[in-house]
């Protein structure tokens, strides 16, 4: 396997707030040019991790190296890292142009180069013509773009994004997901973003780290994390999952241990080597799919996701007995 140079390498990083270990002995390597997601519920330590990398927090112990340089105890302005804040943190008294040029201004870069680079940055985020506006005159999506331009103009080694799409509405969020991905591809900068939205992480990131209680539960590609969750937490946090307890597994599958079956892997038409008769207990119409809850004779409850593809299979009524099928290869054993 080809080892890419690592942009960030973190060793035994720990940060406590009072009695809470927000980040607990974390080791992590992020490759240069990677689009990396830190996913987890609130309070899992992912935001603290981002703030430690940015330099807004100083670690209790542990080492952060960025581009081969130990920055563990340096100030944010001494790190070649820029952040896109959750609330964008645009300077309200400055115009879009002044906001975007701020980093260059502070570094004392000449006016000519400043305006060249800001022009390029603003065109990157498709905000030409907005130079003289104030942040208060922009929409949420435009503010987000200004925040992006303000960060990338400094050509950082690493760009940190804190819940970058959290404040946008659904349609805009989908647009920005595509745009961010494209931006990262063309710039070649390492992107690290924090999110609690698993869909965002799955759709954008090359690799995802799952945070829980200040530790990383699993690191892997979207497909790895989704298809092969390493723990109950991962299985239930990334997507939805049917978790079978060890006694249920024993009874239904004849196997030892905890197993996870994704709801979309359970079908109403014949496919796979497992067949059960089940009673429908709930049915939720979700537009493109219907989420059906069933109960097996032993009392085990499962969810399945049925595409609304026009076939009559998705039309089930509550109380009805139906046949469900899945392939035993989709029963995923979860280590404890």
């Amino acid at each position: 396997m080809l080892e890419k140079a690592s942009a960030i390498s973190i060793r035994a990083l720990t940060k406590t707030f009072g009695k809470v270990r927000a980040v607990d002995q974390i080791d992590l390597d992020i490759a240069a040019g990677e689009f990396f997601a830190m996913l987890g519920p609130s309070g899992s330590g992912k935001t603290t991790m981002l703030r430690l990398i940015a330099g807004f927090e100083i670690p209790d112990h542990g080492v952060i190296t960025i581009g081969g340089r130990d920055v563990s105890n340096t100030a944010p302005f001494e790190r070649n890292v820029n952040t896109v804040f959750q609330d964008y943190a645009l300077f309200p008294h400055m115009t879009v142009l002044q906001n975007v040029q701020y980093g260059l201004m502070v570094k004392g870069i000449a006016k000519k180069e400043r305006s060249e680079r800001s022009e390029k940055a603003l065109s990157r985020v498709r905000l030409e013509g907005y130079e003289s506006r104030k942040p208060s005159q922009l929409s949420g999506g435009q503010r987000q773009r200004v925040a992006l331009a303000r960060a990338i103009i400094n050509e950082p080694e690493v760009l940190l994004l804190d819940e970058p799409l959290g404040a946008l509405d659904l349609k805009l969020r989908h647009e920005m997901q595509v745009e961010l991905k494209e931006l990262q591809r063309t710039l070649g900068i390492t992107f690290i973003f924090v999110t609690h939205d698993q869909e965002e992480a799955l759709s954008m990131a090359d690799r995802i780290a799952l945070f829980n209680h200040g530790k990383i539960e699993q690191i892997g590609s979207a497909a790895e994390v989704y298809e092969f969750p390493s723990s109950e937490f991962v299985a239930s946090f990334v997507g939805t999952s049917n978790l079978l307890t060890s006694s249920e597994s024993e009874q239904l599958l004849g196997k030892q241990g905890i197993f996870s079956i994704r709801p979309e892997k359970i079908h109403l038409t014949k496919s796979g080597d497992r067949t059960f008769t089940a009673q429908v207990i709930s049915s939720l119409y979700l537009g493109s799919t219907t989420r059906i809850g069933v109960e097996l004779p032993g009392g085990t409850r499962l969810f399945l996701l049925q595409p609304n593809d026009g076939s009559s299979q998705s039309l089930v009524s509550i109380g009805e007995f139906i046949q469900i099928f899945w392939d035993s290869s989709h029963e995923f054993h979860i280590q404890r």
């Binding site: 609330d87 645009l90 300077f91 502070v106 960060a151 400094n154």
Partner: protein, 299 residues
């Protein structure tokens, strides 16, 4: 049981008034605003206006009675007499100096309160700051008189450094005024800093700015309205003070003394009124200058 039932509903009469008010928006406004409007127009603007009128009257120097005929004499004296010009200049300088010193003292304290302390300790400090305002400022001025006395506490404290008390005079007046009006500067700055999101400071730092640069480019411009608000307090309060200067000022006279002495000892109310126009006009001029800088647009 029955009485409990009726008490759950408002008594019919009260309900009638409420429902009538609900239907008549203008009457609602009248109920709300008549008292404060009466106060503002009659008591506040009225007294200012009557002062303005009487500034153009004079006092008969033999009988001491009011002569209610129009004259520019009072203003003529104020402008031409060297002593008034000197006192006015001295008062404005003291007011500026007090404002400047208070701003320099208040900024770090407010910064510490709003951005360093935990919310709980912050509240304690706000209360501590407000506490001196409960005491009469006369008492505080007298307390400073003992502090500043020759052979007093300040003398004793500064002696090891080869310094001593400035004694009663202009310096003492400035010190005491700074002390008295400091909370009025801290509170608006503190409120302004509390409204300033931490993420802005972090963003500035993230973009390469050190503490000084962030303060100059981000904190100060955004804090400008708060600083102006605080300075209006310290400036106009200093300009209007005559008690502090009486207590710790020695022989120093400030402009408010001129007004006070003409009301009291000299019994020349029209001249006092004319003299009172000077601080009023100065503060109005200050506000106009502030407005010109555009600081109030971001309020």
């Amino acid at each position: 049981m029955n009485s409990q039932l009726t008490s759950q509903f408002t008594s019919p009469r009260e309900l009638r008034v409420s429902s009538w008010l609900h239907r008549h928006e203008k009457s609602r406004l009248a109920v709300l605003l008549s008292a404060p409007l009466f106060w503002l127009v009659v008591a506040y603007l009225g007294s200012l206006f009557s002062m303005f009128i009487s500034a153009f009257w004079s006092v008969d120097s033999f009988t001491g009675s009011l002569v209610k005929t129009f004259t520019w004499d009072n203003f003529h004296t104020l402008i031409t007499a060297d002593v008034y010009r000197r006192i006015a200049l001295r008062s404005i300088s003291v007011a500026f100096l007090v404002t400047l010193i208070d701003a320099l003292l208040a900024l770090p304290i407010a910064l510490y309160m709003a951005k360093v302390l935990s919310p709980r300790k912050r509240q304690v400090l706000v209360v501590l700051l407000l506490l001196p305002l409960w005491a009469s400022y006369l008492v505080k001025a007298y307390a400073w008189r003992t502090l500043l006395a020759h052979g007093g506490v300040l003398d004793w404290l500064l002696h090891p450094f080869g310094l001593g008390t400035p004694g009663y005079g202009l310096a003492a007046t400035t010190i005491v005024l700074c002390y008295l009006w400091l909370p009025y500067m801290i509170l608006p700055i503190y409120a302004g800093l509390e409204r300033l999101p931490n993420s802005l400071l972090e963003a500035s730092s993230d973009l390469g700015a050190g503490g000084g640069r962030t303060f100059k480019s981000i904190v100060l411009p955004l804090l400008y309205p708060s600083l102006i608000a605080g300075s209006i307090f310290t400036f106009s309060l200093s300009l209007g003070d005559y008690i502090t200067v009486k207590i710790v000022g020695g022989k120093t006279q400030l402009f408010a003394n001129v007004i006070y002495d003409n009301v009291g000892t000299a019994g020349n109310l029209p001249f006092a009124a004319a003299a009172a126009m000077v601080p009023v006009i100065t503060v109005l001029g200050y506000l106009y200058m502030v407005r010109r800088t555009g600081a109030l647009e971001n309020l």
